[in-house]
């Protein structure tokens, strides 16, 4: 079962593996290749930055890894689950147990409070854990705001809520799509630092799509995409600040 597969992941080297993965979209009568023959992997606890211009395939890659999309060709293995071949129930379990997501536009549920938004992944999986929710809210510094709605929060506070939500179910992989894209540089840095610290504490891998060369340089490795193809992969230089990123 999926649960076994996810738990057995510790015994496997790569937590995420793409083998010649391709994804095509249809735009009218035209077929657009969003991702072509991409091969890459993500090791447990590793932070990998996906870099490249807009439309290069970063978000498509993240969607495949998060199990919200399937490849048209090739293989995508996440936490031991073959995303292309998995049944719907397996993908649901993958999203519930293995993957956490952080979006550029936060994507909090507007009618739920901070506390409820953070608790949502656990609630959808029918395993509420209020102490864990409270702990994470405290860790992201939103205890005093836990009963506020997203519309009552600043951008940074919303993204901190999203970070807590992405980690609350102890995922093995966190995918973050331009998580600082809607934030000023100072707030963005603070959110990133928080994300890095928390995922580091629980040993989750982080796959981060970014335009920002400075953020990319903080990753263990950088993977560059262009026009849907992988055009480069290299270990990044560590940031001079010695950030845990």
């Amino acid at each position: 079962m999926i649960g076994d597969a996810i738990n057995a992941i510790d015994a496997i080297d790569a937590i995420v593996e793409l083998r010649r993965a391709s994804r095509l979209y249809r735009r009218g009568t035209e077929q657009v290749a969003a991702l072509i023959d991409v091969t890459m992997h993500l090791m447990p606890g590793e932070l990998v930055a996906l870099v490249g211009p807009s439309g290069c395939g970063k978000s498509t890659t993240l969607n495949l890894v998060a199990g919200v999309d399937r490849p048209d060709a090739g293989t995508v293995i996440v936490c031991g689950v073959d995303v292309g071949a998995a049944r719907e129930a397996e993908l649901v379990m993958l999203r519930r147990r293995c993957v956490g997501m952080v979006f550029q536009a936060f994507h909090l549920v507007p009618h739920l409070t901070v506390e409820e938004n953070v608790a949502l992944p656990l609630a959808l999986d029918h395993r509420p854990d209020p102490p864990r929710v409270r702990d994470l809210i405290e860790r992201v510094g939103l205890s005093s705001r836990r009963r506020h709605y997203p519309s009552e929060l600043s951008g940074g506070e919303q993204q901190r809520t999203a970070v807590a939500r992405a980690l609350v179910h102890r995922p093995k992989v966190v995918v973050a799509d331009e998580p600082t894209g809607n934030l000023d540089s100072r707030t963005g840095a603070a959110v990133l630092e928080l994300l890095a610290e928390l995922r580091h504490e629980q040993g989750a891998s982080l796959l981060l799509a970014t335009h920002d060369a400075r953020i990319a340089s903080m990753a263990d490795r950088r993977i560059a995409l262009a026009d849907g193809r992988l055009v480069g992969a290299e270990a990044a230089d560590r940031h001079p600040s010695g950030s845990p990123l």
Binding site: V109, A123, L124
Partner: protein
């Protein structure tokens, strides 16, 4: 900031459904009203159409009376013809009838003026039996007395003894209300009728020497066919003697035509109502698409999303449907009130009940169809 719930799964999932309604009740109410308007349009049109057709059909029978035969002629029948029929009065009740439309000034609308031989007619039209007390009959026969329904009198604030003004043939004529017709189950049919003695009716419509038809009601034991043959013989083929069914056929042709028009109107109404419901719900669905996408990415299963969407759509459909049914019947009553002078209509309790069910079922079906649960699940 408002109070929130403890983040247990069931409560949290319920909050996902209920919270938007609590936080933005107007948006929800507008959606409900959109659905209600669509349902109401269908019900109002169909219910009023059915009631109108039904009333028209009933009216033909009720006002026509129990005649087995009737004598007619284009342009009316000379009064002298009654004398020709005197030899068969032992076999049939011979009832002269004048019928025309006149304007009742106090009402500001048209009514049907029905002139009958009040002495004879109580044996023909059951409604008169209970109404024609000797005093009223006397006054109606010797003066300018008329009878109107109790409903019409109540509507105009009239009582027996009051005077009303009729406009016929370009002349204003004052007549006295001598009695009120307690029409009972015939009420709707008689509601827009002014009943007068045939002589007064002739005077009012300006045809003192002609009547519109003669009804022959066979006395017990007399065969209508034989009676008809006898009447034809007395009239020497000058006039048409036929069963009222002939008139009924004509009436039914009119009803069929009316029904066709109303069915067409109802079909348009169903279409418009459906489009209205669909558009309203599609808007509501689009507003929820974002939340559903987020939930799916966080691990919501198709079943969880489908349940949430179905619960919301069903609530919208039922609430909007219920409001629509009430508004629809209200609208139908208003529509019928505006055509009472043309057709005496009453909306019966059961009228259009099946259509109500169909409308609400349509509404629910549309709700779920437009919500496109499968789309959300994917």
């Amino acid at each position: 900031m408002i109070g929130t719930i403890a983040p247990g799964s069931a409560d949290l999932l319920r909050a996902l459904l209920v919270r938007p309604l609590r936080r933005r009740p107007w948006r929800f109410m507008i959606t409900v009203l959109g659905v209600a308007t669509g349902v109401a349009a269908v019900i109002a049109t169909v219910a009023s159409s059915r009631a109108a057709v039904g009333a028209f059909t009933r009216g033909v029978d009720e006002v026509a009376g129990a005649a087995r035969l009737e004598i007619t002629q284009p342009g009316g029948i000379p009064v002298a013809t009654l004398a020709d029929l005197r030899p068969i009065t032992d076999q049939a009740i011979v009832v002269p009838v004048v019928e025309d439309s006149v304007l009742l000034v106090e009402l500001g609308d048209g009514v049907r003026l029905l002139g009958v031989d009040l002495l004879l007619d109580a044996q023909v039209r059951p409604v008169l039996e209970a109404t024609l007390a000797p005093e009223a009959l006397h006054e109606a026969l010797i003066g300018r007395g008329v009878l109107i329904s109790a409903e019409l009198a109540a509507e105009l604030g009239l009582r027996a003894g009051d005077t009303i003004t009729l406009s016929a043939q370009g002349r204003l004529e004052q007549v006295k209300v001598v009695a009120l017709i307690d029409a009972g189950r015939h009420g709707a049919v008689w509601e827009r009728v002014v009943l007068a003695d045939v002589a007064l009716a002739q005077e009012l419509v300006g045809r003192p020497d002609r009547i519109d038809r003669i009804e022959l009601v066979p006395r017990p034991g007399v065969e209508p066919a034989a009676l008809g043959q006898r009447a034809r013989g007395l009239l020497a083929g000058r006039l048409d003697v036929s069963k009222p069914s002939h008139r009924r056929v004509l009436a039914e042709q009119m009803v069929a035509s009316l029904r066709f028009n109303l069915v067409a109107l109802s079909a348009i109404s169903v279409l418009v109502g459906g489009v209205l419901v669909a558009t309203t719900l599609a808007t509501s669905v689009v507003q929820r698409r974002y939340t559903v996408s987020v939930l799916r990415s966080l691990g919501a299963s198709r079943l969880q999303v489908a349940l949430a969407v179905i619960v919301e759509a069903t609530a919208l459909g039922l609430l909007g449907g219920a409001l629509g049914v009430v508004a629809g019947f209200g609208g139908a009553r208003l529509a019928l009130a505006s055509v009472r002078s043309t057709v005496a209509v009453v909306l019966q309790g059961g009228e259009g009940f099946d259509q109500t069910l169909v409308s609400v079922a349509d509404d629910l079906g549309l709700t779920l169809m437009v919500t496109d649960v499968r789309h959300f699940c994917h």
